[in-house]
Amino acid sequence: MSSSSTLSLSDRFWRWFHGFGSPARFDRFAQKALPWFSWSAGILLLAGLIGGLFYAPTDYQQGESFRIIYVHVPAAWMSLFTYVIMAAAGAVTLIWRMKLADAVARASAPLGASFTALALITGSLWGKPMWGTYWVWDGRLTSYLILLFLYLGYIALVNAIGDRRTGSRAGAVLALVGVVNLPIIHFSVEWWNTLHQGATVTKLDAPSIDTRMLIPLLVMFFGYQLYYFAVMLLRVRNELLDTERRTQWVARLLMGDPARDKS
């Protein structure tokens, strides 16, 4: 074994990777990071809410109903982001059998299902006054409904299989197969003629949205993002506590120092 000064870059990376993957070390990191994520998420969500309800001007076509955008678009974006994290964590679980990755995937699924349900519900509450209907079986809405079923299927699958490792692997395979749905969701508004509007913010040329409308949306967007990380870390800590309950580090965490075991 060479000394640390002569370690190659990739050796250092793998060392860091395995260290970070250690449940005890990650739990300590999560404990420290949680208040930062929680407070910044809370502040941004509140700022985005105030900005979206008061600061943003009324839309000239959609009137006040466009304000639903501030809860609809961040939820829709997060449902895709969460899925990518869940599938990537599933891949790491399959390849390296890393417990932490499995905990991240399991912790993300209920959040992803919630974001997807919110995107569908707020979307139909927006569709009713704008399109005249709560629901239409078009490409975008149908592929989103499939996304919700993928999340629910993952949750049902990992909980139905008695052996935890087998359940994790089956869930990871399901999550990876479901990745096919992501490009379908993204391109659905271009492939099929639909009621759903195309991209407004992420168009490559100038976004077709007023700056005073865009800023609260971006704030809300980062708020949702940080909210996801805060709740995900909280759930990962629970997963680790549950699966590692017979280990030394958990005993030390809970019993070692009674003055600070409030975690």
Binding site: I121, P129, L234, R237, L241, L254
Partner: protein, 52 residues
């Protein structure tokens, strides 16, 4: 103020969207916190029993 709550006639749709989002995000915080408390009780009890 009334005008604000009226949302240009879209009050039902706008406020139920924000309300449902708030409730779902809130419960996603409350459930893991409650679960943590329950887990801490369980695991502490388990560790204590094993030490005696």
């Amino acid at each position: 103020m009334n005008e604000f709550f009226n949302m240009g006639g879209y009050a039902v749709y706008v406020w139920s969207s924000f309300g449902i989002s708030f409730v779902v995000l809130l419960f996603n915080v409350i459930f893991p916190i409650m679960r943590r408390k329950q887990l801490l009780r369980e695991v502490r009890g388990h560790i204590k029993r094993n030490r005696i």
